[in-house]
Symmetry: D3
Subunit: 309 residues, 6 copies
């Protein structure tokens, strides 16, 4: 069934991979990539997919379509053997204003059900779906580099903490907004943010007071690993990092992502056991020999051609 949408998109492959040499200008131009209405998907370079949150006129607020399209998009990316790494950013003046309260109001503010238990059941379904929207980023074995400019509010923080590498511009700011609208953040921030930065006091302060955090603090606390002067240089930087990743063995890269995520949620002993079980097969790759030989010949991994994964 997935194949229907899939065919639609792959039929649009001209649009999906429009102009390999037009990276910079492309990334913020154009509109959503059909059949998506909230996402623009392009291929700025070999093995790199660029996904842009694309509702600039709505400050990239997340509406009902968005929650559904993210899942479809990342499921496709997970299965697209051409893609080895993803860059994620926001179109327009800011990264995202978070959830689109107006669009989503019916779901959350007037939930359906005959009694409290049945309303609860309905809510459980809705939140699970929203949680899944960001969890697909982790389930996709290709690393995701997220590049934030301007505001990153509410569900935006949920989103970026599910990505692998975080970059931002000097003018970026972050806000765990949920407590301001009367709820405990329930689609990932409270679960992932504490595992993403080192200061628990800061995590608590951000989540309990909803105060803004600017780029310098985001860098010093480790939320982002690099700050760029503006969006253009950030996108260039993100693509460079993505290029480094895309040039490595996909067996090595995707195994690294999967095991890093496994380690986050397990003891060191369990992580080591899983790792050795993983590499029982993965070390039998030709990529190892190819890469080792290149290393011995002082060549770059970029000079090696790896099979699709």
């Amino acid at each position: 069934m997935n194949s229907i949408v899939r065919a639609a998109v792959l039929g649009n492959r001209g649009l999906w991979f429009p102009a390999l040499n037009a990276v910079k200008t492309m990334s913020t131009s154009g509109g959503p990539t059909p059949p998506f209405t909230t996402l623009s998907v392009t291929q700025p370079a070999n093995h790199i997919t660029h996904v842009e949150l694309h509702r600039p006129e709505k400050r990239n607020a997340m509406n009902k379509a968005y929650w559904r399209e993210m899942v479809e998009c990342f499921n496709q990316i997970a299965e697209d053997s051409e893609c080895r790494v993803v860059v994620f950013s926001g179109a327009g003046k800011l990264f995202t204003a978070g959830i689109d309260l107006m669009d989503i109001a019916g779901d959350l503010l007037q939930p359906q059900g005959d009694d409290t238990a049945r309303v609860a059941w309905y809510i459980r379904g809705i939140i699970s779906k929203y949680q899944n929207t960001f969890s697909v980023i982790e389930k996709c074995p290709k690393p995701v580099v997220v590049a934030v400019h301007g505001a990153c509010v509410g569900a935006g923080v949920d989103l970026i903490t599910a990505c692998d590498i975080r970059l931002c511009t000097q003018d970026a700011w972050f806000q765990v907004k949920e407590v301001d609208i009367g709820l405990a953040a329930d689609v990932g921030t409270l679960q992932r943010l504490p595992k993403v930065i080192g200061s628990r006091s800061l995590v608590n302060e951000l989540a309990l007071t909803a105060r803004k955090m600017h780029s310098d603090e985001a860098k010093s606390c480790g939320l982002v690993s690099r700050v760029f002067p503006d969006k253009e240089s950030m996108i260039t930087g993100a693509l460079e990092i993505a290029g480094e990743i895309a040039s490595r063995s996909p067996v090595a890269v995707q195994g690294t992502k999967i095991n890093l995520l496994y380690s986050r949620d397990h003891s060191v002993t369990e992580g080591l056991d899983y790792m050795v079980t993983w590499n029982m097969s993965m070390l039998q790759t030709q990529d190892l020999m190819k890469s080792a030989q290149a290393a011995l010949e002082k060549k770059s991994p970029k000079d090696v051609t790896f099979s699709k994964l």
Copy 2:
């Protein structure tokens, strides 16, 4: 049974909530709040409880009474629906010198029991009780902002790592002292400190060498999220943060604390599952509608009145 002490305290409500508009001066004046002998409990502002460790003449060292009173105090706070956030600080010249060795010597240095096993059993009881003294801070669903000035030694570090937000003055210093008196820290530091700051090398160094850490390093490693020039400005700052928290929906705030703590000790998947189960009921609060409406009307959460929780 709790109700006996409870009645005693609530009868003292005049003392407990003495003068809402006399915040700054009050916080370090006065003595312990009866029936407590080591804690002063006041209400500097609406929904904010200020607990002060109050044995300044003994450098706020923790004696037998303290271990018991902390539990009573935080159990009462947990059930006090007027209170939404706690500020914790130390009276006098420093935060705390840690355990009161002289007072407690009998318990730990000359434990009771007919043989080694029975002494061990006795020790188990004592340490469990001490551990519980700090765990009540986490069991209390109201966020606790701790403000440290001067020395914070030994059991003081156990205490602050169980709080939610940590602040300190420029002259503050921290010392994991236990190894100096021949024991592995057993009331929380070894368990919580590594989950509170990001550098494991630093945690190990502090715990194994008992060296002092000053405020600047405490800030850069993330132990505290803010440093203030002096105690007065710190208390003001703590009350401001507390005010921010107190003005938000208590449903949102307390759900946030509970889920942040749950996340610390679980995988992301488990944390998300607990979160969605939590919000099956909590999203049905009127606070959500009130807050959302205020947000749409560009009002501050402070302009909204929430029911007691």
Copy 3:
């Protein structure tokens, strides 16, 4: 059986503990300590063992002998009641270039086995052995201070993340190299690095792009807790820290290491329960009374003599 090698080494005790007052010069002079061929083991001061990775002509690359000798060495240290703390460093111009690809090529690049499953079985054995090489550092209850100068590449990062306290020189750099040779790092880095530093974005970037990280970034992210201008001052600093540790009660120190590691892999509640069970016996040590008395008399722990552990 262990006793055979053990006797051999202890017979060399003159060499093992050569010249207590010749610390500085010794640490980088001399060759491996027989029967070791890749490790130099000395005793620069009371209760301190200094282990040096000693293949300077091969940039301290880890060959087959190394993997075996590390286990023997740390098992001996674990049982050596004279030793209370370990300093680990590299001889020559850099810390380590990582795995010795040429020496190890047969094992990993041409593994044995009749079919894929049997090759996998063989690989499982090899990697498990390598993992164990670094895990012995954690299993050894004596704290290990590692001092890095120059390059620390690939398996070098696996090694240092298994140590307790990390120091480096200004010229040091670190590189998670594995992705460059076509594999996911499988002997500890992916499991331990995220629990050692606070920024997950940085961990991911390092592991996925294999970029170098220099000493200043290593300090600010918390990988190392101190940076020294050069190797000599670093070794002096490492021995000072080791001296602080060696002078404390070994009951306190080793209990602290064991419980810190336990905490890393368990919830706070579980860590507290284990801790109290641990101290059921360990608080019955004479060291507690000795240390407490010294503390009350304002003496340093260094003035107290503790029994062997």
Copy 4:
């Protein structure tokens, strides 16, 4: 997208819920319910869905279509608020011969991929999909009563251990067959069987020797909770049990299934914590009052009408 298949099926609702009063004869007559080719889905009574594995001419062997259809079928059941309980059985002479080796041979015996790692990646995808086929039974909150007659071999055991209540006929036998075809059972038996019966020695014997277990042993070891003389009486009995379940509050029943599964995989403390969080909303159901009142009036739950869930 799901909605397309869904509409197709719901359009067939006449076939899906054909003749409420024709239970017994129907259950083994007829063919698969379109669009399914391997499953027959009927509604023998109010709130009860009967799913039959329906490839009798192939001894109900599981082919490629089956793996896909099971997921679709149970996803629909999960969302069908009319259905409160499922009965699962096999059409024809036996329950199932397990996997259809011929049909599936291409997938498992000649997997795709350029090298061992890429073949491994492909295999991972296939097995994950197969695992999911049975896990949907657990993810579906409606209890599943499985009724086994004749042979239940290989993947059949994986299937029934994912169900909630197991019944069988006197002539039924069970065989963990995988070791006979050279693999460790990988779609659930090794994970679930030990948590389903009490004797670990028996589990190991069955899994390691592939010997058959007959109905009497299946009953005494607890794999099934009841044995019936023949298929007809078993289906009647299964429907009676299903009827008991269907007549209770769906809030109570589905909450019970979800929490029983949660308990299986968690400590008692964690299970209790989840349970109380669950019932924060679910105890606010009207069903509680309705049921309590019926109980006080000595009425049966069957006399109470509950809203849809």
Copy 5:
């Protein structure tokens, strides 16, 4: 504070331990032991405490007083160094009819709170308190032998699954009743029953259909370890088992209970680690030497006198 009630009870020690030689008749005669109103507490033999659920005129239904008194009672038993084992039974014609719906109706059917979230918060408090009522049985380190006659319904099953050894009479029956009153059992049955008996299919059937299980099935599934012809012989049997336990070293017995419970909720590796840490102190008991010597001299443990624990 506990000491107040404690003093009251200990002052009643004549009543608490009334007539050491009047075991059999006493156990079902007399009324509740003040200050308890629902429990009778006696000491039928040395080191054995007999707790009887004592509201026979109300079929031992659990009212509000009961939930509170159980906690007080078992906390006292935990601290009573004279007591080494507990026998628990029900006064009158049956063990217990479960929760006292009439008495408790206000709490659960008309919970307090301004909105759904606040009602949920209130419910959380109530259920947690009820859960704790049975968890104190596990927290008490003395083994609890429960003896069931006649009906054991609803919360009765929650209660007995928290005990250590289960006995019953031939006329006993068990019923997981909760689903009949519209809720998922939330005070322990769903968490503990699956860990107490081996057949998961049976657990599910009992919990989902609320059918009665009689003593023979209770024995064959392992819920009880012995069945007695009538209550008198059961109480005698329970006291014999209790006598066996009471005659052993309390260090050995209580360490066994604590570690058996720890094992239930942890992996084997974790259980072994905890066990060895436990016995670091406990093996240093004199009881070991005393018992070993008695064993070598072919004496019974009953001939050895052990110190209080």
Copy 6:
């Protein structure tokens, strides 16, 4: 170093595998196999190793040599690619009387150390070593069938619960003896017995009262999966089961053991994830094709020749 003992044993291969066609008589004749003094090791049939506890004159009591030899023996078996399954039994009139109190008395009753903490440290080392003695049975990937006749006391129960399949004779009885000598069983029984049989009430009764359990109860509770009339028929039966296992693909068999043990200690979800990762390589075995073809040709696995593992 292991190689020294290894060479000694392999040099004795004539003794180790003395007479392939003399199974029955051999198993209880002869003495220990040098260099072992407590174990007899033979090869009764292809791929089957028979280990006999061989101190019949001491009722197979476990002395110091035994604890060491078990580890060496099972480490060798783990690496012996000829061996695919192990049968374990006791020589002489009974299986084992448990620990040899006289031989071991010095270790446990008069432990070494300057103070309680150092004695505890010493005890920790001893118990860990003893625990490891039985854990090697689980670490060895070849299934172990244990055959018990006569008495199986104390450490004997620890031993058999670490085996995979348990058989016994009609005259066999089992006793968890530790509580009788004043300690909580610390080498495996309390951790493994509850995961090996289904009735927790029975586990508790056995461990707390040290009562004997006879073969019929051992069978009905699931401790053993089969009971034989006498030792001779049991050994024959054990060898038949072993023969069934030995004839299957070692890739399938050892993968099954490893994953069954993994499942015991993990949630179903985690077990499934590990399983799929395991089979990424193991499904690429030629054994799969060989076995599948044999199955399609209706041949027995015994007709297939598998490569060594």
